[in-house]
């Protein structure tokens, strides 16, 4: 496992070196290696696809500029997640994107489960969760991060992570299982 990580890190460094040497295709490889987790994190954390895509784009373009300026990123995955987190928090703080809470409530309150689109319902319910709880849940459920890792990433105690994930799941369950 550790070998895989070290191999991954060394490959990332090699790609960064190639980017600094002007090899644009190396950025394509680097992007391909890391885009998926960052994308899932952004979209599920921000909860608004358009805004999340802007954040996602900024993250990678920012990394590219940083590398081209000669910086060496030690751990690309960690850097990207940190960068994505900071940008997501910024947009969530500003709230410059529309959140269709009323629409979500209407749909969640709908009688017919058959007409319920699971994905939309889930995303709607996710938006109802407070930001810090949602972030912990996204990192845990979508990212597979351990509580310890989430605690380090979000700089909160382990017990807080546990509470946040619990609160997020509780909220989701309440919203998606109104009878339960």
């Amino acid at each position: 496992m550790l070998d895989e990580v070290s191999q991954s890190v060394s490959l990332d460094r090699e790609l960064q070196q190639r980017i600094r040497n002007g090899d644009n295709r190396a950025f394509g490889e680097l992007y391909t290696r890391h885009k998926q987790p960052v994308y899932v994190y952004c979209t599920r954390f921000v909860g608004h696809d358009g805004t999340a895509e802007d954040v996602f784009q900024d993250v990678f373009i920012g990394m590219l500029e940083r590398i081209r300026n000669g910086s060496e990123i030690e751990n690309v995955a960690a850097y990207l997640m940190r960068s994505a987190r900071n940008r997501c928090l910024n947009v969530l703080r500003d709230r410059k994107f529309p959140v269709d809470i009323a629409d979500v409530e209407d749909r969640l309150g709908h009688d017919s489960a058959v007409e319920f689109d699971t994905h939309d319902a889930l995303q709607g319910a996710m938006r109802e969760i407070p930001d810090e709880n949602r972030e912990a849940l996204v990192l845990c459920e979508y990212g597979g991060y351990s509580y310890e890792e989430i605690a380090r990433m979000t700089e909160v105690p382990l017990t807080t992570v546990r509470k946040r994930i619990f609160r997020a799941r509780q909220k989701l369950r309440e919203l998606l299982n109104p009878q339960g």
Binding site: I61, Y142, G143
Partner: protein, 445 residues
């Protein structure tokens, strides 16, 4: 902590062993709590499905790669390979592997007991020579357990014995053995690794089906490790986080509610739980009966003239208890014991004080309530309150004790016991009491 927080932490493997024991016990006795767990498992499946469908749109690939001065082709090609590996990296430098974590048990499989993907099982094994029950948790040969695999197996079969087989099987292609298969064949199947079982099944020559000698298509070079563990109603089987290729865990002595939960990566789905028909006949009661024989070394008050009466102030008696434990904490029951109370009573008559003393052994019958609080595995402090009576009057008592349970059914109870007898003479109430050490053996059914 709310129970739902337990559920959440359990799903993430974040409960301490003691918390997990408590959690599993609550689950085993509460249908409502199990329903809540099912909801969370369903929720988790929904999140996992959502993670799988999330992929970077091609227009985004084009925009970013275009900004970098290259075409979108590279990203598009690689995107498929990266798909499903959401957030598969770690800031701690340790790869967290696959796309998402997920409880491998679906709500449906838990609720129904038998899921769509059926693993090898054989109902007659329940009545085989393996006594009260057999369960096995077989890992597939090709998948890797990335995180701690937690399998909790609980089965109900208070007296009839029960059997269940839990298996983690990615493709769920193994077949349910015929109910008429021989117990020995089923037993062999339980000892078979996931890989060999699959290969045998695919070759169409399963001994569980037709009793014929299996002719596997390939052989395993070295026999896989088999661990046999004894399991009680709230035990948990822990498998190490590292891959246990071909590892089989054979679990015996299942005697309460069935539930098996594992936390694995999504590629390990689905977990398959097969519940044997015999489990349908389980007793409705979730608790357990126990009996206890107790030796008492007591001292009695008030002080009387023991020498003149020819009795010993230090008593050594026996007591028998029969209890019913509703759950891990609460139990009620009845006790029958022999006790000697030093009794002193008097009357004043014609300016003379008439003093009477006696100390005779008497039979004490009582009912009791017992509260237990498990501390560590096998160590359980408990407090018992008794209310009963003798032919002379009511008896109130209590015992503060610790139960040590080196074996699943047998426990040693050591503690301090106190009793108070109230008796009446000539319209006056007198009391006598005892205090001392008790120790005994408790057997749980």
């Amino acid at each position: 902590m709310e129970f739902e927080e337990y559920v959440s932490a359990f799903l993430d493997g974040a409960l301490s062993p003691s918390e997990e024991t408590e959690f599993l016990h609550i689950l085993s006795v509460s249908p409502e709590k199990r329903a809540m767990l099912h909801q969370h498992l369903g929720l988790r499946s929904m999140l996992a499905a959502d993670a799988r469908v999330a992929s970077v749109p091609s227009h985004l690939d084009a925009a970013i790669l275009g900004a970098a001065g290259i075409g979108a082709g590279i990203g598009a090609v690689g995107g498929a390979a990266a798909g499903g590996a959401a957030l598969g990296t770690s800031t701690s430098g340790i790869s967290s592997g696959a796309a998402m974590t997920g409880a491998a048990v679906t709500a449906a499989s838990l609720g129904a007991g038998v899921s769509d993907g059926v693993a090898a099982s054989s109902a007659p094994a329940a009545t085989s020579t393996t006594a009260s029950g057999v369960a096995a948790l077989a890992t597939g040969s090709w998948w890797t357990l990335r995180r701690m695999l937690v399998a909790a197996l609980l089965g109900v079969s208070l007296f009839t014995g029960g059997y269940l087989l839990s298996s983690l099987d990615k493709d769920s292609e193994r077949e349910t053995p015929d109910a008429s298969s021989q117990p020995t064949a089923a037993h062999d199947a339980l000892n078979t690794t996931g890989e060999s079982a699959s290969s045998v099944a695919s070759s169409g020559a399963t001994n569980a089906h037709d009793g014929a000698t299996p002719t596997p298509q390939h052989t395993v070079s070295s026999p896989p490790p088999t661990r046999t563990v004894w399991i009680t109603r709230v035990d948990t089987v822990y498998l190490p986080a590292v891959a246990q290729r071909n590892d089989t865990v054979r679990v015996t002595r299942i005697d309460t509610v069935l539930i098996a939960i594992a936390q694995t990566d999504h590629s390990a789905r689905p977990i398959t739980i097969v519940q044997s028909p015999s489990l349908q006949t389980f007793a409705a009661t979730p608790g357990r009966f126990d009996v206890e024989i107790q030796r008492e070394h007591l001292t009695t008050w008030p002080y009387i003239d023991h020498a003149r009466l020819g009795v010993d102030r230090e008593q050594q008696h026996f007591a028998l208890h029969a209890g019913y434990a509703f759950d891990v904490h609460h139990a009620v029951g009845v006790s029958l014991s022999e006790k000697s109370f030093a009794m002193e009573y008097y009357r004043i008559e014609n300016d003379s004080l008439y003093l009477f003393q006696r100390q005779s052994a008497m039979l004490v019958g009582s009912g009791f309530y017992r509260f237990s609080q498990p501390l560590w595995t096998g160590v359980t402090p408990e407090f018992t309150l008794r209310i009963g009576g003798t032919s002379l009057g009511p008896v109130f008592g209590g015992r503060l004790a610790v139960q040590f349970a080196p074996l699943e059914r047998l426990g040693i109870v050591i503690g301090a016991d106190a009793s108070l007898l109230a008796y009446k003479y000539k319209d006056n109430i007198f009391t006598s009491h005892t205090l001392g050490l008790t120790y005994g053996l408790r057997y749980r059914f």
